[in-house]
């Protein structure tokens, strides 16, 4: 009898445990389901006439941005929702991916079919690939109806760049950017040592040499690969195709269809021989490839002189030093001056797209239209609250940070979220590149020498040649990087091995594949 009761007891206990667990899951699933179902019933019933949009139903949108929220984002979004609820009967739940492992997360968000009404999209977040795979909703029919202002204001060229297989899959930001690579360097040392002004490769060499000999400082003190590699590509006008295409490049802007693997060119041979002499003279450390320190950090403490940055990034770095280390004078040399032209980034460098899983694409577009064109919304979401995060400056146009009321507040942090996706140049209230005065001149120079970007739009999906691409990249890491940094004493022999290994890895197949894709793109956009 006693045993039976105990037996029963144990059965009941375990049953209870299971029930509790299941209830926990089930309860939640129920909630999720309810939230999903509720709006759905309304949606099917609402008529959608052109120009006369039905707003009778209250809708909460789910948006995703890349990056991190600001401390006050919650309050800002609450205010944003208050305004939206009044005008569009809509609210937005704004989520962030955070930078931790964002590529995996972005992929999951798009492939798992989770309900998302709008998401940040970009060429560097594989916009073309996801669009081609059908992750986004085509917007051609929706835009004129639900985002009329945006449809009108965005230029034909920008829409064209957002097209994949003839359809628009994202609303590009209206913010032409030039991001040529270049180097930030210690201008005060150049003047002090009487070195020539930096305007070509020889003057760069003279500068590095002067700093090394007279100052006893390793000029690029840290990771130096970016500095040297981007200089190499810019110097010979080698162009990457469709994003980072590794060793495969077009030999120049004027010969886009002449696509090769650069390690097989004479230019590369000439370059690595030069780099060998640079490395021997100690322009960078012999551990540069394994080093984890940024060359820019060395500049801050006076143990370095040169740092790779793109133009807006250089502005940020230089302005940062102006406040932290005012006695250091820095200048910038964009590599675009080697050939005197720049290419703007594509419009879809930053954009907002609507995933296939969206429930309310129409509302999302309406909100985006407001956000992009109404200063009330734009300022709030981009710069935060006036008086708390910024003041309007005297000209009534630009903003000042921090606001006067919080000038001494150590907790103050610029309101800054991933607002790039809806950026509109005419709406911007801050100067680009951190307010670096020199940037205006640079921008004028870039605009004058700008040439259309014909390379970035090539849609590269490496799936068919993935094995070759992986092998070639591995060979580049193992043999190419040390060669580029002049770390191999016998250059000729090193080069021979590198080329042989590349061939064995299947580099020719990779080149052929890129050629095929690039030619198809050039045919489509009418480039010879």
């Amino acid at each position: 009898m006693n045993r039976k009761i105990k037996n029963l007891f144990s059965v009941v206990i375990s049953a209870l445990m299971v029930i509790v667990l299941l209830a926990a899951c089930g309860g939640n699933a129920g909630n999720g389901g309810k939230a999903d179902n509720q709006p759905k019933t309304g949606n099917t019933g609402s008529p959608q006439n052109e120009g006369n949009v039905d707003l009778s139903e209250k809708v909460e949108l789910v948006w995703y941005l890349l990056g991190e929220p600001h401390k006050d984002t919650e309050a800002v979004v609450a205010e944003f929702n208050k305004m939206l609820a009044e005008e569009l009967n809509t609210t937005v739940k704004l989520n962030f991916t955070s930078w931790a492992d964002w590529e995996t997360k972005y992929n999951l968000l798009l492939s798992a079919g989770e309900r998302i009404d709008m998401i940040f999209a970009s060429t560097w977040a594989n916009y073309y690939k996801y669009a081609a795979q059908g992750a986004f909703l085509p917007l051609d029919d929706l835009l004129p109806v639900y985002a009329p202002e945006t449809w009108k204001n965005v230029s034909e060229q920008d829409w064209k760049e957002a097209k994949v297989n003839g359809k628009i899959y994202a609303v590009p930001s209206t913010y032409p950017e030039y991001t040529p690579d270049g180097i930030v360097y210690r201008e005060d040392w150049r003047k002090e040592l009487g070195l020539p002004e930096i305007k070509d490769l020889d003057s760069i060499e003279a500068y590095l040499d002067g700093v090394k000999r007279e100052k006893g400082v390793t000029p690029i003190n840290g990771k130096a690969y970016n500095e040297i590699y981007t200089m190499f590509r810019a110097y010979y006008d080698f162009q990457h195709i469709g994003g980072d295409s590794g060793v495969v490049v077009a030999t120049s802007y004027d010969t886009p269809r002449d696509i090769v693997a650069y390690p097989f060119t004479d230019e590369f041979e000439e370059w690595v021989k030069k780099m060998r002499t640079w490395a021997e003279k100690g322009y960078w450390n012999s551990d540069t490839l394994s080093s984890q320190s940024e060359a820019g950090d060395a500049i801050k403490v006076g143990t370095g002189a040169v740092y790779w940055r793109n133009a807006p990034g250089a502005g940020g770095f230089i302005m940062g030093q102006k406040t932290d280390n005012p006695d250091i004078e820095l200048a910038y040399f964009p590599f675009s001056r080697f050939h005197n032209y720049v290419m703007p980034t594509l419009s879809v460098q930053n954009a907002m797209a609507i995933p296939k899983s969206a429930k309310y694409p129409e509302r999302s577009l309406m909100v985006l239209d407001k956000l992009r064109n109404d200063p009330k919304y734009y300022d709030l979401m981009t710069y935060g609250f006036e008086g708390v995060h910024y003041d309007i400056s005297e000209d009534g146009r630009t903003i000042v940070t921090p606001p006067a009321s919080r000038a001494d507040d150590p907790d103050y942090a610029n309101y800054d979220i991933a607002s790039w996706g809806w950026r509109v140049e005419s709406m911007q209230r801050v100067k680009p590149a951190g307010g670096w005065p020199e940037f205006d001149n640079l921008l004028a120079e870039f605009r004058e020498t700008s040439r259309p970007n014909i390379f970035a739009g090539v849609m590269m999906d490496y799936e068919p040649v993935r094995a070759e691409q992986a092998a070639v990249n591995a060979v580049m890491q193992q043999y190419g990087l040390p060669l580029m940094m002049g770390l191999i004493s016998d250059v000729e022999k090193g080069l021979e091995t590198y080329r042989k290994q590349l061939e064995a890895a299947g580099v020719h197949k990779l080149v052929d594949y890129v050629k095929e894709k690039a030619n198809a793109h050039f045919d489509a956009i009418g480039v010879k």
Binding site: G32, F96, S98, A100, L108, E114, W124, V301, G316
Partner: protein
Amino acid sequence: MERASVVFNTIGYILITFLAVLCLLPFLLILTGSFTAESEIIRDGFKIIPNEWSLEAYKAIFRSPEQIVKAYQVTIGLTLTGVVLGLFLTSMAGYVLSRKDFKYRNAISFFIYFTMLFSGGLIPWYILMVKYLGLKDSFLALLLPPLLSAFNVILMKNFMKSIPDSITESAKIDGAGDFAIYWKLILPLSTPGLATIGLFLALGYWNDWFLANLYINTQDKYPLQFLLYRTLASAAVLNTSAAANLSPDFRPPSETLKMAAAIIVTGPIVFLYPFVQRYFVKGLTLGAVKG
């Protein structure tokens, strides 16, 4: 003492001391690194005893202490419930599978084994969690996945197998039910196994950031590891093409900040080990079966 054993002890102590120092040094370097001035690290690299002490890194981390406190609460809460629940479920599963009179134990063991070798992969898992279980942005998304791991169940099962059958048998003769046997006899005899798996679970919950990264959107629900990992991840982005878009205000965390973060995260879990350790040393079923 005999000469030989004196020699043995001396060599033993020297060797162990040497190894202990080797193990402690990196940790000491992290500790002092977190108290070093940033400029000194950039200039001279890490030193065991820095010239210039500084509290800057800790000041930076504790600038918004509410968040750290909240993250600690989340992590500690998760770890405690996870370990208790996890141990209970794992040991029950292990016990059932270890009983020889359970007919389908091999079939079920294989079923569990199988998931160790083959799994659906990330995307189906994500879809299951988000779409069918509705666990997006829920604490359960952090709690459930590591709760019952196949590896732990197998480990527990094999451990319990080593407990002689005669113990179960004797209890049965005395009139104990199955749950009573499990609760009163098997569990106390399994403390070393429980301690091992408890430690695994605790470390797993404590160190997990990936689940939070996938499923949690609300900042208040972030566990500690993820909160700190985010700042480091932001630094990594600076070196990619995405960097062009980041505002000039965006600064990478300094070296000292990384060290301070490591100290804050590892500190408490280091203290856990000595408490659990004594269970490992205890003998198994020492003297339980006589004759």
